[in-house]
């Protein structure tokens, strides 16, 4: 025991290379690892209350399913909505719900940033050797949030079997691209919106209107909305790139705005821009919080 108590300065001196990631790739890997570690802890923590977990999970599936039931009821009285059939709407609904659900699962916790600041949890994240954003996104991670994406995925699967689409190579490829880019766009909106809470504590509702409200908007075909609104989600908060624009291509629908067809393939660019904007916003927010350059 005694020899263990002797200070060992060598151990505290130079740190292994891994500990100070210099390259961008290493930083990303390090952030993902931190996220995974914290998320795994929360998963086990929520499993401490197993019954509650299953109840909430079931409730989440039931609640999100109601959205689709509304669509089904609507189609009892009509065969098409804005020129889109039920399976086509199912495709919009499924992709929107799946992207939002996955983004919510992965980074949705960021929207409680205001609470984390108030309770001092953010401070404890800042004194750990891990990226604060990764820790924030993994905070209170729960598999319960798999409910929405699972329900949306099953609607999507159903719609894919019912659609009358000639599956060319570009259409097949666009589906996974849509899902990845859509998830990334929603994730960026979550984080960008959360970042506003560095300056204004109580803007969570505004952000929820963008994420949940936006997801509901893009459940429906763009043809039923005013052109100004559609233009807003193309050029403003670019939710149209989640599923509207690629779906026009996949489902062979006319574009109500008459934009160049390049837009229908541009989701990866939109997603990259969203990530850049969210990252800049996060850095600016954290700098303001810590008071850098004040």
């Amino acid at each position: 025991m005694a020899e263990l108590l002797v200070p060992e300065p060598q151990v505290r001196g130079p740190e292994p290379q891994l500990l100070a990631p210099e390259t961008r790739m290493a930083r990303v890997r390090w952030a993902l690892r931190s996220w995974r570690l914290v998320a795994a802890m929360w998963t086990r923590a929520t499993m401490a209350y197993r019954a509650s977990f299953y109840l909430m999970f079931a409730a989440s599936i039931a609640a999100t399913s109601l959205d689709f039931v509304v669509l089904l009821l609507m189609f009892q009285h009509t065969d098409s909505l804005g020129g889109w059939s039920l399976p086509e709407l199912g495709f919009l609904y499924g992709t929107s719900g799946l992207c939002l659900g996955l983004a919510n699962l992965l980074v949705g916790s960021a929207d409680a940033l205001g609470d984390r600041i108030r309770t001092g949890t953010l401070d404890t994240m800042l004194i750990r050797p891990a990226p604060a954003l990764a820790q924030l996104c993994a905070e209170r991670f729960s598999l319960r949030r798999l409910g929405r994406p699972l329900q949306a995925a099953s609607v999507l699967a159903w719609s894919l079997t019912e659609l009358h689409v000639r599956w060319t190579a570009d259409r097949v490829l666009l589906v996974p691209v849509l899902l990845v880019c859509g998830t990334v766009i929603f994730g960026a909106v979550y984080i960008g919106g959360a970042t506003l809470q560095f300056w204004w504590g109580e803007v969570r509702e505004l952000q929820n209107s963008l994420t949940y409200g936006g997801a509901t908007l893009i459940h429906y075909p763009p043809t039923i909305f005013a052109k100004e609104l559609v233009a807003g989600v193309v050029f403003g908060i670019p939710l149209a790139f989640v599923n509207w624009l690629p779906s026009l291509r996949i489902l062979g629908k006319p574009d109500p705005l008459g934009l160049p067809t390049a837009f229908q393939y541009a989701s990866p660019i939109a997603a990259a821009l969203c990530v850049l904007a969210a990252a800049l916003a996060w850095r600016a927010g954290l700098r303001a919080y810590r008071g850098t350059g004040n």
Partner: protein, 319 residues
């Protein structure tokens, strides 16, 4: 070589207050206002001051959470503002009122996470954990969910969590708050062990001056964002012009007695309280009293450090 060094550190906050219906007034508040001190490796320093004096702001700057508005700051060879993550590996932090342990998971799991987040080599981890388990008597608690631990047990758990990665500096914010006497003693004993045998530098804020008396060779008193005293605990008495008290029980009740070199501060029946400067001997005063009045009993009371510090705060406020 000093491990912690502050040179003319300032930190101000902009506070917006409502002034009228739409107008908002901006006001600059200087939480820390020109703070300079240095702490050598291996020291144990008590950092005290009234609420709002700038203690937590200082700790937040020393941990890299907040960035100073101006001034130069170095902790363990690192600029906390620029290299927060590098610093995080060299410091341990314990907030008395907030746990970093995982509420619903066994204590062991929190340590396991620390091992991975801090990338502690296996051998070091095991050695450090074993040592903490022994010194803090955590053996029987490792598999208990944190929510079932008592406050004292949880604090011990938090202390261990902060030390697993061999930090050079340990910051403690109110480490004994809310603990019972036995738990307090245990925490202090452990901290002394960590400081003297491990050589870990300790900086602690507290409102419990017994912590300071038992642990800290050096005290810093901060008020209004400035250091108003920096030195030994004994020196604080002299600096604070503290007084000792001679309590005399006279044979019978009477008016306040008159003795050179002391003044009566309280009379209660036959018992009277006489205050005199702490550095003076009590003997001549006792002799003077005994010569003129019939004495039944007497005792001398040492100055309470609380009073000394309270007087120090008051002086700063007036001055």
């Amino acid at each position: 070589m000093s491990l912690i060094e502050l040179q003319d550190i300032r930190r101000s906050f902009t506070i917006r207050t409502k002034a009228g219906r739409l107008r908002r007034e901006k006001r600059e508040v200087h939480a820390v206002d020109g703070l300079s001190f240095s702490i050598d490796a291996g020291e144990c320093v008590g950092y005290i001051g009234p609420n709002g004096a700038g203690k937590s702001t200082t700790i937040k700057m020393l941990t890299g959470i907040l960035v100073p508005s101006s001034g130069r700051l170095r902790v363990a060879g690192v600029d906390p503002a620029r290299e927060r993550v590098r610093l995080a590996r060299r410091i341990g932090v314990v907030f008395g009122q907030r746990t970093t342990l995982w509420w619903d998971l066994p204590l062991r799991d929190s340590y396991e996470l620390a091992r991975r987040i801090y990338r502690i080599p296996d051998a070091r981890y095991r050695a450090n954990l074993d040592r903490c388990i022994e010194l803090l008597d955590l053996g029987g608690l490792l598999d208990t969910p944190v929510r079932q631990l008592s406050l004292g047990q949880r604090m011990r758990g938090d202390l261990a969590a902060a030390l697993l990665h061999d930090p050079q500096v340990l910051y403690l914010d109110e480490p004994t708050i809310g603990l019972d006497v036995v738990s307090k003693a245990r925490v202090r004993e452990f901290l002394r062990e960590v400081n003297t045998r491990q050589g870990t530098t300790v900086l602690l804020t507290t409102h419990d001056l017994v912590d300071i008396e038992q642990l800290c060779g050096r005290v810093m008193v901060i008020d209004h964002g400035r250091v108003v005293y920096d030195g030994s605990l004994d020196g604080l008495h002299a600096a604070g012009q503290s007084e000792r008290t001679l309590v005399v029980d006279l044979a019978e009740a009477g008016p306040a007695i008159e003795v050179a070199g002391a003044r009566v501060v309280k009379v209660e029946g036959p018992r009277q309280w006489l205050a005199f400067p702490a550095q003076q001997s009590a003997a001549p005063i006792v002799a003077a009293v005994a010569a003129r009045y019939p004495l039944a009993d007497l005792s001398v009371r040492e100055p309470a450090i609380e009073d000394v510090i309270a007087r120090m705060y008051a002086e700063v406020a007036i001055g």
